[in-house]
Subunit: 234 residues, 2 copies
């Protein structure tokens, strides 16, 4: 039997209208729809974005990806997710994996695709690009993201204050993701560099929960969700 | 009379199916559709992406943006485009400006929006984010764009070889736009750094003209179109 095909369906930052036409078509065509499982009873972001588009007969396949750094635990989770997915693919069923933002941009889809293509090199995998959070954030703020010869530096996580300084000195526009645990250090560094007026924090961009913090002078401390982004124009 | 609203409609990298649902809805609702005029008789990329979606009664407004660097010439062109656009807005008609990729990401929409909001601060401007070329390119190459803690550096143009070295030393993933005039210098630098196997050139991503060059060892010289992108995994 011919294997099904695996689609990485990027479903955008949050607003279900920010799916592409292609993403919607594939999402509504595949017999099996996979997505990262939410925590506890809550649906994950990708799941909540797509739920209105799914038909009752489509098989739902929530896949668990632990929020940890240990590479062994992660590799085990990816193997388990790959096995579950391949159960359907091996029966000739196409599987669409929905991921928030763009699946190639720090997305869990990357690890599922990597594991599956290592185990089954002949498997056909198609990636559908989508709207990712820095673009959605800039649009929601009513700002250009980048102009003319401005360089853009995206830091997915911040472990050392030095990394921020290096980025700020190299690029005219800097975007930080997953910075919430070090927010107060980042704030102090931006204060020292006189950049608080040129920095924006946006949470849950394009969703009904969207919130904007600007100028940052007023927010030396913030409790932020995972889906937060910091944009700095240097 | 109430002014019309200006929409920046990001129409994605080339495949008309990569418009978002929202972009299509707004594009088909606005009475006036503006876009960057093509050169000579040829339609521009944004125009060619949207033409199948437009109705005969929608007014087409091609706007000329010269491909030059002189800031005075550019400012004059933006003023002229803003005047033409405001003719419709002031009559209460909404105008949607279609731009390829994401309009906030080095897009001409930024300058039109800037000029109009300087001249008419009360004008309502809405930006619709879209799929931009680095994301589309990675998906078309079947690659993740970024994984885990990889930093992403986007250089919109390259004027000095030093800039490339700095980017390559700072980030795990580097994307170059508008590099075609310095391609052979970039190639030699990548050769010296042993990165030709980890570099991809993609032209016209997601369009029928798409072409991929990889590994770059085979391509010390290339004549590339404006819509080319170089992706390097360091």
């Amino acid at each position: 039997m011919t294997w099904g095909r695996l689609y990485g369906i990027s479903v955008g930052p949050g607003d279900p209208e920010l799916l592409t036409l292609k993403a919607l078509r594939i999402l509504q065509t595949v017999p099996v729809v996979a997505y990262p499982a939410g925590k506890g009873d809550k649906p994950g972001l990708a799941e909540s974005i797509i739920q209105t588009y799914l038909a009752p007969e489509q098989i739902r396949l929530p896949l668990r990806f632990p929020y940890v750094f240990e590479s062994e635990t992660l590799a085990e989770a990816w193997e388990a997710a790959a096995r579950e997915t391949f159960l359907y693919l091996s029966q000739g069923l196409d599987v669409g994996f929905a991921c928030e933002g763009d699946g190639g941009f720090y997305g869990t889809f990357n690890y599922l695709a990597q594991t599956l293509s290592q185990n089954y090199p002949e498997l056909i995998i198609e990636r559908l690009p989508g709207v990712s959070s820095p673009w959605a954030a800039a649009a929601a703020l009513g700002l250009p993201l980048t102009l003319q010869d401005q360089r853009l530096f995206i830091l997915p996580a911040l472990y050392h204050a030095d990394d921020l300084d290096a980025a700020l000195s190299q690029a005219e526009v800097v975007v930080l993701l997953k910075f919430r645990q070090v927010y107060s250090q980042v704030w102090r560094r931006l204060q020292a560099l006189d950049l608080l007026q040129r920095a924006w924090v946006i949470e849950w961009a394009t969703t009904p929960r969207q919130r904007i913090y600007h100028p940052l002078t007023a927010y030396p401390e913030l409790k932020l969700s995972y889906f937060s982004l910091l944009l700095i124009q240097t």
